[in-house]
Amino acid sequence: MKDVAKSQIIAGTKAIPALPRAATKLFEMLQNPDADMAEIEGILRFEPGLTANILKLTNSAYFGLPNKVGSIRQALVLLGRERLVELTMVTCAGALMWKSVPGYNLSPGELWRHSIAVSLAAEGLVKVLNLPEDKRVFTAALLHDIGKLVMGDWIKGDIEKIDELTAQGTSFEVAERLVLGTDHAEIGAEILKSWAFPQELVMAVRWHHQPERADEPSTMVDIVHVANVLCLMIGIGIGIEGLRYELSSSATEKLGLKPADIEQVASSTLQWVDELGNIFV
């Protein structure tokens, strides 16, 4: 029964609109420092909607650029390619995630706000811990809960059983797994795989609740995990299960994270989300 559900749920991931090819292409460029501006422009040329929104975000008060940016080339020069890729991902993810997610009791925009907050927190953690910059962390964090888009309907159908388990102290993703044979992290990883994202990103999504289970140690996995719990602690994106997760001590140990660091990132995340609220509602 459970296995039937799992294969059906995985089949359901195909119903999610594909990420525009331009987004994954640009993401690959992050790893290719030699890619020139014309190449990046060329990729976006065929995505007028993406381009328009990237320019809107570039011109938003958040970046505080003194003059209006009128082209992707200008945006590239002023923001850098990493920021540009982030804005691309934010735009694409927004198109997918801005909706209510039944089952998890997330009102419209809540999953989206949570996802943005976790990416900002993840960036903040990288900075505060002085980790070598890996700009892909932002995207991994942004997409960590994408599996909920598919799982939501299934959760809704079996919510009583899941509630019963969590009432007895079972963590939410374990209850998901016990009842449905899979959980939103696994389904999210499937989605990222189908979009041809690199393995490390797939793993970061797959193990964002259980970082210690990742096949090999990965800072990205640990960061996304901590950033997620941190955002739930400060109350951004708490749906039905928001308060039923805990920080993995192995992740915090590996990262060398101190309570003061968490506090610092938490407060700046709140501030960023507040500032971004003016743009994203």
Binding site: G49, N53, G70
Partner: protein, 271 residues
């Protein structure tokens, strides 16, 4: 039929086009005689007149300007329709709207006639903007003709003009007016409230500040000469957001006009 002398002499055409040019900057020269003639014949018939001389005399002598505005209407009003030119709405639905992530969304239907285009845009925004309810999304619809704007403001449409609305959307956004006029449908307030109608001659100064995310100006520029078209296209460019979309009629293009837009697909351009 032969009752009406349907000759439009060069002299009569010159008079009419001068009048129209003075009033709304529309330049009716080279080859527009047939268009002028066929459209004005409607007015001649309505007024029981038998020659264009008589008609011109009527316009020149009337003090109310009523017939003058009728004339401008018939000369500048185009066939319009809901979701006209599916390729344009497909583009907006698939390539543009899903990515708009801003709180403020502004579209402009320039030359909106009786409102079908503007209402089609409003329906598209409501359907395909990911978070329409928390957005400030508005469509400005302008036309030179007050009569057309009044028609648009009523939001009433005959059933047969709604055939081009996809059935699902028709059910969702239109209601029959009642038993007396079962063939007339009213567009829902949620859609009507998104559209702001205003009279505007595109040749005049524009009172709005913009910027717009998209401007549709379809089958309007055909009346203007190249020079006027170029000026107008550049004014549209100025009032669009960076990345904003500019759409013209499918038989129009910006070829031969000096402009800064990027070509996206036939009739669709991006700033």
């Amino acid at each position: 039929m032969g009752l009406i002398s349907s000759e439009l002499t060069d002299e009569q055409f010159r008079k009419i086009s001068q009048l129209v040019y003075r009033l709304c900057g529309i330049n009716l020269k080279n080859g527009k005689e047939a268009l002028v003639k066929s459209r004005l014949m409607k007015r001649l018939r309505a007024l029981n007149m038998y020659s264009f001389d008589e008609y011109i005399q009527c316009i020149e002598s009337e003090k109310t300007g009523r017939e003058l505005s009728h004339m401008i209407d018939v000369l500048t009003t185009n066939k319009t329709g809901f979701f006209r030119e599916e390729a344009h709405f497909f583009f907006l639905r698939e390539k543009f709207l899903p990515f708009l992530n801003d709180k403020r969304v502004r579209f402009w239907s320039a030359g909106c006639s009786s409102g079908e285009e503007a209402y089609s845009l409003a329906i598209s925004l409501r359907e395909y903007l990911p978070r329409i309810d928390s957005l400030d999304a508005k469509i400005l619809a302008t036309d030179i003709s007050i009569r057309m704007l009044e028609k648009a403001a009523k939001g009433l449409f005959e059933r047969k003009t709604l055939d081009s609305v996809p059935p699902g959307l028709f059910k969702k956004y239109f209601s029959a007016l009642g038993k007396e006029a079962p063939a007339v449908y009213r567009i829902h307030d949620a859609i009507r409230d998104m559209v702001r109608l205003a009279r505007l001659n595109l040749m005049d100064a524009w009172p709005m500040r913009g910027p717009f995310d998209a401007i549709l100006c379809r089958n309007v520029m055909i009346y203007f000469d190249k020079e006027t078209q170029a000026k107008l296209v550049n004014r549209f460019w100025d009032i669009l957001s960076p990345g904003g979309i500019f759409i013209v009629g499918h038989s129009e293009s910006l070829a031969g006009i000096s402009h800064k837009f990027q070509y996206v697909q036939p009739a669709v351009y991006q700033k």
